[in-house]
Symmetry: C2
Subunit: 347 residues, 2 copies
């Protein structure tokens, strides 16, 4: 079983190395190949997603991804930016289903801006569509008939794209409280009206799951007012991008939360939801938990090793409950010390 390690930019290499140490204990038989991605790849090869890396990603059984993004490349045209690497990987591997769980780890009440009694109730997962929507529709810059500069991006979905992510939403809800909320903007967008129709059609196959619908602006409000009301949320690429980052912050720290991007063959790309954090890169301060937990998701969703996944998740929760805190959580543990803490709890 071969894992592609795409560490990327900023704190990416530090947190991926930490997760690798944990994997070496719970799944020592895994093998690894490293690939360049993001700004690091651009520096070495002039492109954020070189063909060798894409080939590696296709050959691997799963991908553990760090982060991409480097302000040094912000002046590049869009297609060459580090962020394009992750969009390219998602599209090429058809990773249409992004799972983003959010919950408050016991003991992290202080890290959330929400009142403790509200934050403590957060236990939700956002199922975000990842290869369609306004991210991948026809886009460009041009001129209007009167010579004005304009920019455009087409938001669109077809029924197959909506149905397959809706199914992941219903299946995910089945492993939880059997409540699925679909988020759209059907009072304004035709794309959302199709979305809502198709989700309602797929719902016929899941009579055991309670389905409801909410507009995205209301969902953004409700995620602040009472995030504990949500179980499983399914939504499109753009709304999912915004709501999942919001939900993670409600849960206290983006340094704690993992994500999975899956395709039909359960091939997956696993990455922390935080970014490359160039301001703290190379200082050994990054919180490795989100990436360690992403490795756990990899063991569960792509490698069929739920026991190893459970072990990692329990170790991270116990380490945090024991008071271990990196800087993002208001403490002063290094990346290394936090990783040691998790390793010690594992054994």
């Amino acid at each position: 079983t071969m894992i592609a390690l795409l560490a990327g930019d900023g704190i990416g290499p530090e947190v991926v190395a930490a997760a690798r140490r944990v994997l070496d204990v719970v799944a020592p038989d895994l093998t690894y190949e490293e690939g360049l991605v993001g700004g690091a790849a651009y520096r070495a090869q002039g492109h954020p997603l070189p063909p060798e890396t894409l080939d590696l990603a296709h050959r691997a059984d799963a991908i553990l991804f760090g982060a991409v993004g480097d302000p040094a490349f912000d002046a590049l045209e869009r297609a060459m930016r580090p962020e394009q690497a992750i969009l390219g990987l998602r599209k090429s591997l058809k990773l249409f289903a992004n799972l983003r769980p959010a919950r408050l780890f016991q003991g992290l009440e202080d890290a959330s801006a929400l009142k403790p009694e509200i934050a403590r109730r957060i236990d939700l997962v956002i199922v975000r569509e990842l290869v369609g929507d306004v991210y991948f529709g026809d886009k460009g810059r041009g001129f209007t008939s009167t010579g004005l500069r304009e920019g455009h991006d087409l938001m669109r979905y077809d029924e197959v794209e909506v149905a397959r992510i809706a199914r992941v939403g219903f299946e995910t809800a089945r492993t939880r409280q059997r409540r699925l909320l679909s988020v759209d903007k059907a009072n304004v967008l035709e794309t959302s009206q199709l979305w809502r129709d198709v989700v309602n059609e797929v719902a016929r196959d899941y009579p055991d799951v309670a389905l409801s619908h909410m507009y995205v602006d209301n969902a953004a409000m409700q995620l602040v007012r009472d995030p504990g009301q949500f179980d499983t949320i399914v939504t499109g690429n753009l709304f999912g991008d915004i709501l999942s980052d919001q939900a993670s912050m409600c849960a206290g720290s983006i340094g704690m939360l993992p994500s999975a991007a899956l395709n039909h063959e359960s091939k997956g790309l696993y990455e922390p939801i935080h970014g490359s954090a160039p301001d703290i890169a190379g200082q050994g301060k990054a919180n490795p938990c989100a990436t360690i937990l992403s490795a756990a998701m990899m063991l569960r969703h792509s490698l069929d090793r739920p026991d190893a996944a459970d072990r990692i998740e329990a170790a991270v929760a116990a380490t945090i409950a024991g008071g271990a805190r990196t800087a993002d959580l208001g403490g002063n543990l290094s990346t290394d010390a936090m990783t040691q803490g998790v390793l010690a709890t594992l054994e």
Copy 2:
């Protein structure tokens, strides 16, 4: 000076009547004409925005709007839904600039899900573009070449549309702390790249305002983590819809927050940011403050009566500080009793 009163659906008539009582005290010379809008108009005339109402809106010096939306009409096709009335008014009157202030009223710490020390620091205004973006681009339902149902909505802006809202952003920042944040998704959207270029160009005329940029997913996180960091935020129609509702909820209650939608002639439409709340309609329980404060914004932005606006705002703040609470704020005052409280504080 003639004001169009468009009360609309649900609690709209109750809160507009309350605001009218306050206006009668601070600006007794204003005259009013009432118009049907939303579900109420659909019932009477088969259309959510009848020609008479549109004509009234064009003739009026300003519009005080309640709310539209009625679940009884959710099965109608999109173009006939109550919500289309507000979109139609915005477009027809070219109300391109939506001002949405958010702050925590003194004494309402309990109403916010955020920790009091975080919520107390909220004092921001979102300047949302209101007549462009994916709301008004070419849209429709159709079929792909392989016969699949699809839906699409074109996101687009041209440089004139971006520049005029950017100017409102910079001008608004000038009346505040001179810090403007522009929110986009320039790492993915071409529309956002144009947006960012044009905002940077307009910035040359405002060297006294500190401009920064943020991606929308990060903005949604930061609005939860530390909303006190923001002063003035300028963004597009869709991102503004989501972020402004999120910001209002951070500030405690959508029952307290007003909004203005302005065009180049300072003609404005003023409305509470909350919706028609059909579940409590007709019960005399709605919080009238958001609409009363919208009337204050009307006096300031369209009628050039800042003193009267100040009087209303001070009266609402004092009434709340004195402990008056409608149901949404955890109390049991009726709409009438809250309005009486504001009137008593005015005099």
